[in-house]
């Protein structure tokens, strides 16, 4: 019997090693696996490279992970937020490395890793600072930049529903980066609000087939699943 459900957040994060590249789903706070991020803080892995769209806000979640000194490098498209105090302080002091990637290129690099494509060409960023040092090539008279796949050791994702095969269903705009993060890492760990019986999830509603998922932990927010204002 295939059963990817684990009983605790600690069990879900067991074995995450120092120096790992960790892909984290979510766009702002929506679809961000905040309980798994808290779990990673507890778990204590250090020297991490984290890959996600936003660099966290306030002093919770990803910002706290950085504040605890667990992050060596962040790969993201938009480190600004309403309250980017932690990232900006560390960045100014030279304590964190930033690789800024256009959002679509970030998504495609991760998708490519999951799809077995080592590199691709895109018109995005051609002729700009973010193409500096990268190979470029002309196709049909237009300049394209070569971008490399971006693979994770670990992915942390959030879903609304999951089953024991690891199939994931997303809610609202909470899919965003989660499906590609799940594809792009060796070890994919999901937090889900609801665990459903096998066969209960409509096949067309499954946003991430369980083949991409290794562990699922239920995080039942009860009536309290409305997230606090954080971007």
């Amino acid at each position: 019997m295939i059963n990817k459900i684990v009983q605790s957040v600690a069990e879900a994060l067991a074995g995450v090693r120092d120096g790992s590249t960790v892909l984290i789903g979510g766009f702002g706070s929506v679809g961000q696996p905040d309980v798994l991020i808290e779990g990673l803080i507890e778990q204590g892995a250090r020297d991490l490279t984290i890959v996600l769209n936003n660099a966290g806000a306030g002093r919770v979640g990803v910002a706290k992970l950085m504040d605890q000194g667990q992050v060596r490098k962040i790969v993201c498209s938009f480190p600004r937020s309403k309250d980017p105090v932690v990232f900006e302080t560390l960045y100014r002091e030279g304590k964190i490395e930033l690789e800024l990637v256009p959002q679509g290129t970030l998504a495609e690099r991760i998708r490519a890793a999951g799809a077995g494509i080592p590199a691709f060409y895109t018109a995005t960023a051609a002729g700009t600072l973010l193409a500096r040092g990268k190979e470029s090539r002309e196709f049909e008279g237009k300049t394209y930049v070569m971008e490399r796949a971006l693979k994770g050791d670990v992915a942390l994702v959030e879903a609304w529903e999951a089953d024991r095969w690891g199939n994931l269903v997303y809610r609202g705009s909470g899919g965003n980066f989660n499906p590609i993060m799940a594809m792009g890492a060796e070890l994919t760990i999901a937090q889900a609000q609801h665990i459903r019986e096998l066969g209960e999830l409509h096949p067309h509603m499954v946003g991430t087939p369980g083949v991409y998922v290794n562990r699922v932990v239920q995080v039942d927010r009860g009536g309290d699943w409305l997230k606090p204002e954080q971007v």
Binding site: F27, G28, S29, V30, G31, N53, S77, F78, P79, R80, P84, F87, E88, Y91, R92, L98, L100, V101, P102, Q103, G104, T105, A107, E108, I110, R111, T122, A123, T124, A125, A126, G127, T128, L129, L130, Y170, R171, G172, S173, G174, G175, N176, F177, N178, P179, I180, G207, L226, K227, V231
Partner: protein, 212 residues
Amino acid sequence: MPFNRDQMAARLADDVPEGWCVNLGIGMPTMVANYVPPTREVIFQSENGVIGMGPAPKEGEEDPWLINAGKQLITLAKGASFVGHADSFAMIRGGHIDLCVLGGFEVAENGDLANWATSENDTAPAVGGAMDLAAGAKRLWVIMEHTTKDGRPKIVERCGYPLTGLACVNRVYTNLAVLDVVEGKGFVVRDLAPGVTLEEVQAKTGATLHTQ
């Protein structure tokens, strides 16, 4: 009288025809949606994978799982759909967006746009989806004040700030004028804010303005 921010958004919205799929950047571009009348069917795409955004939710009807690119709460229009980020940006990069509206620091007469960083050593450079949109949308219109707060032109011969995209801007909507960017020619005045003269606009512009 120069346009205020709402009038600028309304002026731009006037030019968006029924049927277009439109991506609005964060900040002033987002306001454009408020001025497209609900009787005109326009599909608003948000980079985080929402295709068919509706108006802002009424109080008490917010769904925290529905946000736009600026992380503001939204509703869905009838006919809306969701995709993940890879597919959302495939749509953007693949030329399926009829119009993208972005803010700007500078627009040059060759259509170059600078809107993501103010220097090579910006304290917190943040590009988001702007470079993908600049490279992939069928049309790019910029909405911004005509000058900086201290009166320096933002419409220039060549951008000084780091570029977002090369030769990507088709039109600029400012508080003073609507300007087309015409290949081989530069800025062509399409419209002036009420009571604003061409001489006045030219005096506040760092590039030559052409008339049709």
